[in-house]
Symmetry: D3
Subunit: 135 residues, 6 copies
């Protein structure tokens, strides 16, 4: 089924992200890190070993940073003025999403609900992203 879906959306497959720019972007990069953040929170909840929790806190910090970074790259490098005109909510969406991966969000909390909020925001961004690729 995965192969099928690939065949059906070939134009969407490639997505850019480096600042040559190569033109390859994909919100999946932010999503994968956010899924990792959520999984870390779950493992933390199920393990009260002090050192394990220290590792969880530290790794979640790094992964949250990666979420912020991937989102910032999309906001600055991928989205252009016409996109911001068509989707006036984009700025707030990105600001809220990156805040949700910060101190008041997944960095500062072990509550899985925070990661779920973050994943939902990333999904909103992702939907807009793929719409602009099809346009």
């Amino acid at each position: 089924m995965r192969m099928l879906s690939r065949i059906l959306r070939p134009r969407l497959e490639a997505s850019a992200h480096c600042d040559l720019p190569c033109g390859v972007y994909d919100p999946a990069q932010a999503r994968i890190e956010a899924e990792s953040v959520k999984a870390i929170q779950e493992k933390y909840q199920g393990n009260d070993d002090v050192d394990f929790r220290t590792r969880a806190v530290e790794i979640k910090e790094q992964r949250s940073d990666l979420v912020k970074h991937h989102l910032w790259v999309l906001w600055t490098d991928y989205f252009k003025p016409p996109h911001f005109e068509k989707y006036p909510q984009l700025n707030q969406l990105f600001n809220e999403a990156t805040k949700l991966a910060g101190a008041a969000g997944t960095k500062g909390s072990m509550d899985v609900a925070k990661a779920d909020e973050l994943l939902a925001k990333i999904e909103e961004i992702s939907k807009i992203f793929w719409e602009t690729k099809q346009g």
Copy 2:
């Protein structure tokens, strides 16, 4: 269609990658970087400005490094002894794939064919990866 494919393969969606471990792995991380490498090579071929090419060489170096890193993580952190037994070609596959992202591969060449070879190897790894997730 993308949404449909998501619904049809929910168990495969999440994949782990940090070394807590969080348990989230996804070969898409290596593939996205390799697609970037290929796109950089194409842009390089179409632009003979000296500084642009310097930037292309440098950024391709970093992106190739990321490909190597993501693949190494899968090889060491995700794959376990039973996988290596079932797929005896795995070691060679990963060794060749990471070499293809190195000096004798995409780092040292601006030939798009190198990136295509690399992408094909990653696709082979990806197929095995998703089979093990379904097992």
Copy 3:
């Protein structure tokens, strides 16, 4: 005028920037990197040695990345909803400033005028930043 504003707000000199958050932010971090970018462009213009220019292109790339990073941190971590209400231009300002440090700005150009545009944007952000500290 800049010197004057500094004399009037001595207590505000210190400013925070890590995502504990420590609460210390300072647009000077972005400005210093942008000044470095400009100085690199000037040195590049005055030296046609091939390897020197390669180094200049590469180092300018990194310094431009730091400008983007420091600005993103301010945009996400320092500025809060009330700021965005009071300064509705903030989103566009940051988006333009980070774009000016990217491929279509100082990363992709050796023209000192690009760095000057970037420095002017950072100065605009800086003025708003210090106003919010005094509020």
Copy 4:
């Protein structure tokens, strides 16, 4: 006095720091990180949540590393033999300052007094730095 010296040397404001070298150096980079270290210690003292403290310890480690790095760059890249002749205390000053940002200093301690000692050393370095710029 600090403000006064700033007014008297406006042209010196910009200072270099990358190793092209671009020629832009500024002790403010080390100072800002050290202020962050101090703020982290203060927040740690006022919050006994285990995970918050883990984050504080970890982030303070990174920020202390940045202090060391910025100081090392000044010591090696900015200061030249004539400076060391004129200011024979420079070597010891930098060695003590970087040690103060290490294991026996702000990395290993949550005592704000350590950060204050570090900030005082950076201020001493900063004074010498600005004197050499005026020379």
Copy 5:
């Protein structure tokens, strides 16, 4: 004696590691980081201060990562097909060694025995490495 040993094995001294490739490799890089990991575990066992232990866990994480990285570089960049033919155990050796520096090894444990196992694996790799250099 150290000087003597240097004189007696001059051809082995230089070893390559960057991916130009420069051709300089040395398993000592992985070994030094693994020795650091072991020393950190020992210091952790002898000190029950909470913050010291947090720092130990965090720094051990980074050093274990460096062990993995240095080993991966040897596996992909230094060893060539003829080596893998002559030493069929190489793949498994590297896979086990890098796993021993991961979550189920020195990252996840404060037991010095884990570091000893890791050091023993690195020594095995080192022996093969130096044999291939003499070949």
Copy 6:
């Protein structure tokens, strides 16, 4: 012979380098990077392909940075006041060595003689280092 030399100097083998501190230091880390720098210069001299040379310049930059970093760590973290008293040349030695890995040294030059000067300085430091370990 290498094994023999190891047996004969067991106390010197382990050397510390992280800032816990773990107590493991080894000038070999700086030396290996400097040998890489020299090898890169040699390969650059023997290959006039533009892109290869761009890669050489870029990688040499990074490796020179690592030399500086490893030396700075020794200077600040390993050497203590009594060492500086006994070896009054230490400060100048480290300052010159790190400058030799910078813009006026191996970063800015493709002349192998620069790397040789750097390696000689590192050897001087190494000799003092091992003397202090035996003391």
